[in-house]
Amino acid sequence: GAGVSQSPSNKVTEKGKDVELRCDPISGHTALYWYRQSLGQGLEFLIYFQGNSAPDKSGLPSDRFSAERTGGSVSTLTIQRTQQEDSAVYLCASKAGVSTDTQYFGPGTRLTVL
């Protein structure tokens, strides 16, 4: 079946604009992560969704960042009033459930804030 998909693959925006990044997880996967990867760095946890439970938002760097997951499937990460330091690759991963450990990653969205 299809893997995790993300759109857009690239996004260039101007400072101060809002952006929405989309993640389509593997069908049936109940857990979904968003990570941020700055140039040459490791992955930084942003947010975690598991089923219908309240998401863990503890990794979101500021209140300009928010995410939702509709119907337990597609997720959208929104960044309001983008800043240049928001430039990074945003990665989404899904896994089958809370008791499994293998995360399947999407190709990422490269965000550039001018």
Binding site: Y33, L43, F45, Y48
Partner: protein
Amino acid sequence: GIQVEQSPPDLILQEGANSTLRCNFSDSVNNLQWFHQNPWGQLINLFYIPSGTKQNGRLSATTVATERYSLLYISSSQTTDSGVYFCAVGQGGTYKYIFGTGTRLKVLA
């Protein structure tokens, strides 16, 4: 919070050579995974290995949890092994992983 350090930061190998990548962590962990990020950015889970040893083809990994380190062995390296190798750790059954900064591997033909 827990610190995750990987070494070496960069590694260049000739095709066919073997290598060992190391991941040190500063506190007890319940979860540890190794990932490979290819040169196009795609991340693949290699091993879930909070303790013990696992092997998958030319790759194997060992975690000594009591001494707070994990090793990833790559034997008979191939150019397709190039990329960045990350280890990520989790504590207390949490789903939240802390990633190291990675080892960038380049295998030359």
